[in-house]
Symmetry: C2
């Protein structure tokens, strides 16, 4: 499944082979919560270089419903995406979106945030859902604790999530879907011992890959970095490591340096829809008056459809005019930017110069940002 | 400029040659009011077969402003569209959108519907705007009367629009833009004599093409057909005839039969955004519950990106979920449908069987519509 191609100090490149093809790591995965990466078609995603994208079991279960997707022949066919797919189990969404929830040993009872209907998510159901979706990588169902959170609560939660992880693994084995991998999710909040316990017991159960959950939930960046610095050396080297819900260009450089292989984040599409664009010389807020008469490309170093065809002035006009095309062109560029950033990171690892290239990138990126703020 | 290729009874096919290439007639022109056809990229438009699209002088003048587009090198470069462009002069918008307006001999004073700023549109300014935009076909500035409208008012209005048409022509000659054509617009409401007078005097002034304005403004379809049946035989055969703001598939078949060469309409994109889709077997309201489990393509006879890749069930899901991709896929299909419809109409004219093919189309189209309503 996973092959390491180059391993330097901590940083590494590799390949994950799935039933829908190979993706190179470290990888950035655009998020397609409801069976579509917001604003982008499968063709757009391919043009941006996406090798794997995400779906979300919680959202798809509620709408359009798993039956519909099963009848369509699985999520790949339903959304017309023939490359690898990973689904988030919905653990995070059950806790962050649903109206009322009651957690017990069996699972989580919750009310749909659409229509108030009641549902029970158990580890077994969540594995069955992802099996029916036919995705390449399924995630365990776990409890994601908020930040900050009392140690006692986190302790109990980690234990519950571990029992659920074992049930997930058992159900996964029973289903016998040989075209799917199952990843465990390390929790434990900001508590080192709990994180290490979570990691160790997940490794004992044995998964195809290991995710680090519960970061990027409001904690200071240093706290997240500390958790990761402690955990990554303890993870099996021969399995992919997935940092959920991260991150910014700075974070992508930093955490690939620690040996993270997979990332996902809604930021490129969400910020794109809000007019905040990532470029090699810092962030561009396209709403700013300074771009009204700027006829240069958004990012002269970018080869995406947006940068190849349109000026900042045109993007600024579309955004001001509330035109749909603004949302698509912005999202397309931002997704392309992140995917291309990872391609550059992989190249730097191959050439054994991750730290050097990271400094080079950040210097230009942060310098550009300051200029944008001061102007 | 205009070459007739096949002329049967009234129906005809031809080609219009512009500085940005040739388009075949009869043609359907998607509407790109604010410098973008809503929801579609230039690449999408080309994939839908668009040979010419519209812009709007009134909207572009107010936002982003003519200076910006001139600095960008013209509207083609600003919006990255390298095929023919036609701009509506803004006459219709000045009367329908702006807050306060005062019409006098000189022109129209109005307040911007964006910010209340005051502006004066004269025939000369509107020609200069379109010259600066660098479009292939410019339209005269005229007054578009509402429906219904008193004969006395229409009479005065037609005379004023004729004096303005002459001023437009003079300014156009003075500007000497050899890469641009200028079309006159026939007005006169539902009054045959006034329409004929408008036509005759415009022909006396002499334009590169003749548009019929002031239809599709709420009048019964029969009234529009009567106006057109009377006017079309009086128009010079060797100039293109453009029916503004029309129409439905039924109207496109009917009016090409009368010899109309050019059409524009916001319907494909607007209806697409509302979930109403045109297919060879009638209209499909994608919001209807019956499509939730319909895994067939939207229109099996259509070769657009939407129909080639996605099911009705997926389109229904995207629409319900409020996803941006729904708006784009729907708009893309509808625009492709209209452009393809015109290709079929041209073929029927080439083969001398317009009426026969019209009946065939309508039979299937209207039958499908009834089934959709009854189910």
């Amino acid at each position: 499944m996973f092959k390491i191609i180059k391993n330097n100090n901590h940083d590494r490149t590799g390949e994950v082979k799935t039933a829908h093809g190979v993706f190179k790591t470290p990888v950035f995965m655009p998020v397609g919560t409801q069976g579509t990466v917001k604003g982008l078609s499968p063709e757009d995603l391919k043009s941006a270089g996406a090798e794997i994208i995400l779906g979300n079991a919680y959202h798809l279960y509620l709408r359009p419903g798993i039956d519909v997707i099963k009848q369509a022949g699985g999520l790949h066919r339903f959304m017309s995406w023939d490359r690898p797919l990973l689904t988030d189990s919905g653990g995070y969404q059950v806790f962050s979106l649903s109206d009322i929830r009651r957690i017990n040993e069996e699972g989580v009872e919750f009310q749909s945030h659409f229509d108030g209907s009641k549902h029970l998510f158990t580890p077994e159901l969540v594995i069955d859902i992802q099996d029916a979706l036919g995705v390449d990588i399924a995630m365990c169902f776990d409890e994601c604790v908020p930040y900050p959170c009392e140690k006692e609560y986190v302790e109990k939660s980690v234990d519950l999530s571990l029992r659920w992880a074992e049930r997930c693994k058992n159900r996964f084995k029973r289903n016998g879907n040989i075209n799917q991998f199952l990843f465990g999710i390390i929790q434990g909040g900001m508590y080192r011992k709990l994180r290490e316990k979570s990691l160790q017991e997940l490794v004992n159960i044995g998964f195809d890959g290991y995710a680090i959950g519960g970061l990027s939930v409001g904690e200071p960046r240093e706290a997240a970095t500390e958790v990761l610095s402690n955990l990554l050396p303890l993870l099996p080297k021969d399995k992919p490591r997935y940092l959920m819900g991260v991150g910014t260009p700075e974070e992508l450089w930093e955490y690939t340096g620690l040996g993270v292989d997979m990332f996902d984040c809604v930021m490129p599409t969400r910020n794109g829809r809000n007019g905040q664009l990532f470029t090699s010389s810092g962030k561009v807020n396209i709403k700013s008056a300074r771009y009204k008469n700027d006829f240069t490309p958004l990012d002269p170093e970018c080869s995406c459809y947006t940068c190849s065809n349109f000026s900042r002035a045109y993007l600024a006009h579309l955004f001001r005019a509330g035109e749909l095309l603004a949302l698509r062109l912005n999202s397309l560029h931002n997704v392309h930017f992140m995917i291309n950033l990872l391609a550059n990171i992989r190249l730097s690892i191959t050439n054994g110069c991750h730290d050097e290239k990271k400094k080079e990138f950040l210097q230009k990126y942060i310098k550009g940002e300051l200029e944008d703020d001061l102007s």
